[in-house]
């Protein structure tokens, strides 16, 4: 962004027909073509030749995928990750319970189906990037969206680590509600019908082979792969509806009644004069008339998926092709995500000892976004006059929507492609694997808002970004067995991973007319304004970031008597975004398992097996931005409120110290995480009851925190290493086959997962004991997600009710501001007659201390009934939405982005009688959210999904030609049990605030069919 480096890349021509992967670097395209041709050729050559091919995958895991897998396909992409990596401490998601529901993102699919994983959805808008996952608690305080990105687990598809959008785009954004660009969740690109298995790993020792990207956990996705055998065809499809919400609406009269309470009690004549004009006139039909906007806002929306795959080939060469289309809809504001998938896999064995595999997995995402005012103004980085909200009347709102439909352009497209080319050579006990793989995705947003949407201004913006990760893996494994007692496996490997994130962004304001929706430039080289924009007032942004990681690792596996197992992993990782003298980090980890079944004398029918697990792991954590690696630095930092991105003075680019973002010094070491894990796995009653109990204590150490420094230095903060957070927890998984499935008998299986987690701040940089950053206070020894609030004890009726300090006759104040009648009676905890931060008490945390799920499946004669309950307990929500309704004076007075009233403003909200009536004009801002009246218990349990299906292939007529025909009906988001008075307790932002802006998670019904030929 700074002028010095601001070689504006050739700006791609916007609004031209968007080619699939048009900007993919030539190198990669070439690679792809060559690799496909190469494998294709060999494939042809060796077609028809038969030799033995043995499945190399070993399964010693309890919680395995229960989907049918006649023959495990061999994917050598995942050989590194499957056969040479101990799968102990890996949890497998029951895909059969997941793939039938219309889950659009990986987060949604995993939400109620895995152990110890907490998924946060901020909105029900399909495909929105606002979804996050946390495994085993919160590793760091969430002070910004960058911290949320830093806490995400790594996702691998067939061993390819996926690259997501980098939060560095936020540096040019005034408001961080969603990132610029399509803001689509890239993990919605995965089609669950194309997936063979999903494993969730949270144990650090098990993670350590995956390297520092997996320091927050890993999710391993294995796609269905090419395998030998008769040609297999599968077709999956469902159709359904997201049903609309039933809400009660309000109009001007209701709003006026609400305000009347406050006006009658506290308003001065002057305040009455400023009564909002849209409410002042009770004859105004737009506001006081029918409130029927919901007809246009909430709708039953159709959704569907259809996909097909074909697999076939010989043992020497085989292939799989998959193609699918999915359309997922929200029930509000016409939101939708369309997905198109295509995958292609080829395995070839040209030589007995050599296997070559190629995979290409491509997805296109196309998102219809919400039409909220807030998101529009945030995108424009411009807030117009907001005095009157949109009228609740259907006609008025309909006019507004028709402007959107007819004149607005809002194209949000993502293309995602993963590919790999790998070769595996086996010779005697050696096994060599080399693989080149990449994950590439690009996001585009072309946007045009017509003049009619805002005060005669139009707006155009074009965004293009790509993220690219190229991996080169090489590994050599060696096995040997001694006396059939000792089994050794050794693995050495190296991975080089090259990341590039890049974006171009152009905003254009105030074009000449609504017919010109493209930001064009003067193309005449003889003109003085050659290549200058024509018509629009433009701002350009571009940025690029490269991060390379080089890792050397080794793993030693030892098995004694098939009874005692140990794995030692040692690795050293170097990252380009670490400072040169702290570039490499060495981390060892050890995990052991002892099968003690035979030492316990019980009947085999009671105890089937019992294992003890113990492991210790350590892993460096990567920085996802590159600033820290540079040490003291100069950046462009001239912005101010609402003009964050100004970079020049007098038309010339500038450089200064990073005063507003913060000082970065030298000697920043790798942050790392270490974890001690103890567990017991037991199987009882002929393995019909399986349990896994684990305890962990995870320490994230030496993390970087921006520590506020003295303002006289000019810096807001100094980035210092030394933030330590501990997460302790217990996880229990129980899987029971209560009634064994037999023909003509009722079968019943259940799974129950529960995870308790508690986080504690262990240390702060500079040996500080506590620190206040923005609205969050971090105290050593306390949870990092605690919500601190003032305790409200009612309201001071008159000025004389306000207590006076008998020591110095000072009237009780809020931070020096004297309290008056009408102000809240906040409890003075420390008795100093000054209400301030020291009078705040903790009221829970914004993350649940307990999460879990309960899944149950009943089988009877081919019928299948499945339901799933998800719960999150011991968690608090800040009801900001309620505070906003009560704080209408400040909200409208400020006219900033937080003052925006969406059409949902006309939805019945709080009951005023539940809240004390403060003076909303008071300078103490009586309805501030940091008080206990707005903090509520956010525990909830959801009956998340129910499905009923029948396997028609039970009929003889079908069973000859079909392997499986399964028809089913499903329902999603069926019922919520909660005490929270606001909306859906799930829809809160990353710091536990219910802003009321989230679109609902719809109740969705589908009918589906799965056919295997």
């Amino acid at each position: 962004m700074n002028e010095k480096n601001q070689e504006l890349d050739h700006y791609i021509e916007q609004l031209s027909p968007v080619w699939l992967f048009k900007n993919r670097p030539g190198k990669m395209r070439l690679f792809l073509m060559v690799s496909i041709m190469f494998t294709g050729m060999i494939s042809l050559k060796s077609y028809g030749k038969e030799t033995d091919y043995l499945s190399a995958v070993s399964n010693n895991t309890y919680f395995q995928d229960t989907t049918k897998k006649a023959k495990q396909p061999v994917s050598i992409d995942s050989v590194v990750l499957v056969s040479y990596v101990s799968k102990r401490n890996v949890d497998t998601v029951k895909l059969s319970n997941v793939s039938i529901y219309p889950f659009i993102s990986l987060q949604q699919a995993l939400k109620s189906n895995s152990k110890g994983l907490y998924v946060q959805e901020v909105t029900g808008e399909p495909g929105s990037a606002d979804q996050s996952m946390l495994l085993r608690g919160l590793s760091r305080p969430l002070l910004s969206k960058t911290n949320v990105a830093e806490a995400q687990p790594a996702v691998f598809i067939n061993g390819i680590p996926l690259i997501g959008d980098n939060p560095f785009v936020y540096t040019i954004q005034e408001y961080d509600f969603s990132p610029i660009g399509p803001a689509t969740n890239l993990l919605s690109s995965i089609d669950l019908d194309n997936i063979q298995s999903i494993n969730v790993i949270s144990n650090l020792a098990a993670l350590s082979i995956y390297g520092p990207r997996a320091a927050n956990g890993a999710i391993l996705i294995t796609t269905k792969n090419a395998h030998q055998g008769n040609r297999e065809i599968s077709i999956n499809s469902y159709y359904g509806y997201a049903t609309k919400n039933k809400v009660s609406t309000t109009n001007g009269r209701d709003e006026s009644l609400l305000r009347r309470t406050f006006y009658n009690k506290y308003a001065t004549a002057e305040d009455f004069d400023k009564y909002p004009s849209y409410l002042a006139d009770a004859t105004n039909e737009n506001y006081y008339g029918r409130s029927d906007w919901t007809d246009l806002y909430y709708k039953n929306s159709a959704l569907h998926t259809i996909n097909a795959s074909i697999t076939g080939g010989t043992s020497r060469s085989n292939f799989r092709f998959f193609a699918g289309n999915t359309s997922n809809a929200g029930n509000a504001d016409d939101t939708r995500l369309n997905r198109y998938n295509a995958s292609f896999f080829i395995n070839v064995l040209p030589l007995k000892w050599l296997t070559i595999s190629t995979m290409v997995n491509a997805t296109r995402l196309n998102r219809d976004r919400n039409r909220s005012l807030r998101d529009r103004f945030a995108e424009m980085q411009y807030v117009p006059d907001l005095i009157s909200p949109i009228a609740p009347n259907k006609n008025i709102y309909g006019n507004y929507l028709s402007e959107y439909e007819n004149k607005t352009i809002d194209n949000n497209i993502n293309n995602v492609i993963q590919g790999s080319f790998s070769a595996n050579a086996k010779y005697k006990n050696f096994d060599f694997i080399t693989r080149i793989s990449f994950d590439y995705n690009e996001g585009m947003r072309d946007l045009f808002y017509p003049t009619t949407l805002m005060d005669g201004n139009n707006y155009v913006s074009n965004f293009y970004a790509y993220n690219q990760r190229l991996n080169v893996d090489n590994s050599l494994a060696y096995n040997f067995t001694l006396n059939k007692i000792h089994v050794f496996k050794a693995l050495f490997g190296h991975t080089l991973s090259l990341d590039v994130n890049k974006y171009n962004y152009l905003q254009g304001y105030k074009g000449t007319s609504d017919y010109i929706r493209i930001n064009s430039v003067d193309g005449d080289i003889s003109h003085s304004d050659y290549l200058q924009p024509e018509g629009f007032y433009t701002k350009k942004f571009t940025d690029k970031q490269k991060i390379n990681v080089s890792s050397l690792y080794s793993s030693f596996d030892y098995t004694l008597n098939n009874e005692f197992f140990a794995t030692l992993i040692a690795r050293t990782d170097g990252a380009s975004n670490m400072q040169a003298n702290n570039r490499w980090f060495f981390s060892p980890s050890l995990s052991t398992k002892w099968d003690i079944t035979k030492y316990i004398k019980t009947q085999k029918s009671i105890l089937s097996s019992l294992n003890l697990n113990a492991s210790y792991g350590r892993l460096g954590t990567l920085n996802i931005i590159d600033q820290y690696g540079a040490g003291p630095q100069y950046v462009t930092d001239l912005g101010w409120s609402s003009n964050k991105s100004v970079g020049s003075y007098g038309g010339i680019g500038t450089l200064s110290r990073p005063y507003s973002s913060g000082w970065i010094g030298y000697d920043i070491p790798w942050a790392y995480v270490e974890e001690l894990d103890l567990g017991v796995d037991g199987a009882f009653f002929n393995s019909r009851l399986q349990t896994r109990l684990s305890f962990y204590s995870k320490n994230n150490k030496r993390m970087i925190l921006g520590v506020p420094v003295n303002a006289e230095s000019g810096y807001t903060k100094e980035y210092k290493s030394g933030l330590d957070v501990n997460n302790k927890g217990i996880e229990l998984a129980v899987s029971a086959e209560i009634l064994k499935a037999k023909t003509n008998k009722l079968g019943w299986t259940t799974d129950f997962n529960i995870a308790f987690n508690k986080n504690t701040l262990k240390a702060l940089p500079n040996n500080l004991k506590e620190i206040t950053i923005g609205t969050q206070k971090l105290t050593v020894g306390k949870p990092i997600d605690q919500i601190l609030v003032l305790q409200s004890q009612g309201v001071y009726q008159t000025d004389v009710d306000v207590p006076v300090n008998p020591a110095n006759f000072q009237i009780m104040s809020y931070k020096g501001l004297k309290l008056h009648g009408g102000d809240p009676k906040w409890k003075d905890q420390n008795g100093d007659y000054v209400i301030d931060e020291n009078d705040k008490v903790a009221m829970g945390g914004y993350l649940p201390r307990i999460v879990g799920n309960f899944n149950s499946t009943l089988n009877y004669k081919g019928f299948n009934l499945d339901f799933n309950i998800y719960f999150a307990l011991k968690r608090s929500i800040i009801n900001q939405s309620a505070a906003n309704q009560l704080d209408f004076i400040n909200k409208t007075g400020n006219n900033n982005i937080n003052s925006v009233n969406e059409i949902t403003f006309w939805q019945k909200g709080i009951n005023v009688a539940d809240y004390p009536i403060y003076n909303p004009w008071s300078a103490v801002q009586s309805y501030r959210t940091d008080q206990d009246i707005f903090v509520e218990n956010g525990s909830y349990a959801k009956l998340r999904s129910v499905s009923l299906g029948y396997d028609i292939s039970k009929f003889k007529y079908f069973s000859k030609s079909f392997r499986k025909i399964y028809v089913y009906a499903s329902a999603l988001n069926v019922y919520t049990l909660k005490s929270y008075t606001g909306g859906d307790p799930e829809l809160v932002n990353y710091v536990g605030e219910d802003t009321g802006y989230g679109l609902p998670l719809p109740r969705t019904f589908t009918l589906g069919l799965k056919i295997d030929l």
Partner: protein
């Protein structure tokens, strides 16, 4: 057939070894050395002429950001206990009523001096480091270096002066302390101002009258490749430095010095290209305030064509409303009776009642007499457009212009008793604005000068500081004098500042 092709063990090993070693060699540290594209690290800076220019302008830009942030310059100067009243924003209402410890985000931000100290640090780093460029880049001349350092010292002195006006006693930091966050106590404002004065005097002769112009008295006829009028109103020149000196002296009550400094400006400002502004030019959309020009003796640009314009950081953001822009009600407005009482002389070009019709005629206000009087003296919308549908402004922040210095000169003369000369200076401005010569008694001269400042400099961030100097001079308003005595004329210090520096305590008045 190919089953037979089994390589010998040694070949296989050799292949493996080769593969491994190539990967490792390529993957070594070399791949991990990447220079970030969005920052410049320590080893790559202070190498070239361009680095000097980036750092120099960066310091100016930081001060612009500090003054523009939340419209700080106008909230400090025009809104605090001034003639404007807040409409619906309660935080602005608190500022008009001097309730500066009301915990509104904007009020808190205005109580925090960090942004100003960023300027101090930036200037200091430049002064300490720019010398390195002399060794590395022959294009960077000794003379250029001298001018640059002089500017940074002037900018630092100005920033200190600006802070002393707001907080009184403040920490004085004169050496760069990067990476070393020692807590420093406050020192008396007088000491800070003395430092600023000494610094300015030490470098004032190193500054040209005009950058990139022949008449600057220097060898360099272009400055960083640009000639006049490019840098006018963007950089501090010798006139700017003397203007600041005059203001520091006046704030200290050293009116004798103020006379000398402002006299220098009055005599030489023409060399910088500045002129007295006509009333029309003052209020035109593309007049004095638009873009950058030489009459902005100390100014900060927000130009359209350099995409530095903004919504916040302008008087327009606070004061404009319909019919000029789309917003229905301005954030602040001046009551009609106040306007009438301020513009109480006939024939005032800025605001007057037509003697025949009795109707208001004004370039300063729109819609006088309706419920929506809008202060529209400054209205630079985008590229001097009259279409107010997109409220982004390009008006410069003018700290001082020649009319302001003239009135300061008059004030200083009056303060030391030179009433005739003071009257002459006052009359320059009065004549330009159509209200003719001052005919009142000498006793009323100071009042007349301040009344003229109130009219002429309305919306330029002066009213509050004028009130302070006026009351110090007149010494007759007990309530205000009490405010001065108790330190109520200063802003409270934000708790974030207090929390991070144990050596600083809250101003007595705001405890």
């Amino acid at each position: 057939m190919y089953n037979k092709i089994i390589p010998s063990r040694s070949v296989f090993k050799a292949v493996l070894l080769m593969l491994f070693s190539t990967v490792f060699i390529s993957a070594c540290n070399k791949k991990l050395d990447i220079d970030s594209t969005h920052l410049v690290n320590e080893s790559n800076n202070w190498k070239s002429l361009a680095d000097a220019r980036s750092a120099l302008l960066g310091s100016y830009g930081l001060l612009r950001a500090a003054l523009a942030d939340n419209n700080a310059h106008w909230l400090y100067g025009d809104v605090r206990m001034g003639d404007f009243k807040a409409t619906s924003r309660l935080d602005l209402k608190a500022i008009t009523e001097n309730n500066l410890n009301a915990p509104y985000p904007v009020v808190k931000s205005l109580s925090n001096w960090r942004k100003f100290y960023a300027v101090i640090n930036s200037c200091t780093v430049f002064i300490d480091r720019a010398g390195e460029i002399l060794k590395n880049d022959k294009q960077y001349t000794e003379e250029n270096y001298k001018v640059d350092v002089a500017q940074m010292k002037a900018l630092r002195a100005f920033t200190y002066f600006y802070m002393v006006r707001i907080w009184g006693d403040i920490p004085l930091i004169t050496a760069s302390t990067d990476g070393n966050f020692t807590e420093r106590p406050r020192v008396a404002g007088e000491i800070v101002l003395q430092f600023a004065t000494n610094e300015l005097l030490s470098i004032v002769n190193n500054l040209p009258y005009r950058y990139g112009a022949i008449e600057n008295g220097f060898n360099q006829q272009n400055y960083y490749g640009k000639v006049a009028p490019y840098w006018d109103g963007i950089l501090f020149n010798q006139i700017s430095a003397y203007s600041i000196l005059a203001h520091i002296a006046a704030w200290q009550g050293k009116y004798l010095d103020a006379v000398a400094y402002s006299k220098f400006v009055m005599t030489n400002f023409g060399l910088s290209g500045g002129v007295y502004t006509t009333t029309t030019n003052l209020t035109k959309v593309d007049g004095l305030f638009y873009g950058n020009n030489a009459s902005q003796l100390v100014g900060f640009p927000f130009n359209y064509n350099t995409t530095e314009m903004s919504t916040i950081g302008h008087m327009e953001d606070l004061a404009l409303a319909a019919p000029i822009i789309a917003k229905a009600v301005p954030q602040i407005k001046m009551p009609d009776d106040v306007i009438a009482s301020i513009f109480n002389e006939p024939n005032d070009l800025r605001f007057r009642f037509d003697p025949l019709t009795g109707l208001p005629v004004s370039d300063y206000f729109s819609g006088y007499g309706t419920s929506n009087t809008v202060f529209s003296k400054i209205k630079c919308i985008r590229n001097a457009s009259t279409d107010g549908s997109l409220a982004i402004y390009s008006s410069a922040l003018i700290f001082t212009r020649i009319e302001e210095i003239t009135l300061l000169y008059a004030e200083s003369l009056a303060a030391i008793g030179s009433m005739d000369d003071a009257t002459d200076a006052l009359d320059i401005v009065r004549n330009n604005r159509g209200i003719g010569l001052y005919k009142g008694a000498n006793a009323g001269l100071i009042d007349a000068i301040f009344a003229e400042r109130r009219r002429e400099l309305m919306g330029e961030g002066w009213r509050w500081y004028d009130l302070v100097r006026y009351n110090k001079l007149k010494n007759n308003d007990a309530k205000f004098l009490d405010l001065i005595k108790k330190g109520g004329i200063y802003w409270p210090i934000d708790e974030e500042v207090l929390n991070t520096n144990t050596k600083i305590t809250q101003n007595e008045y705001w405890r």
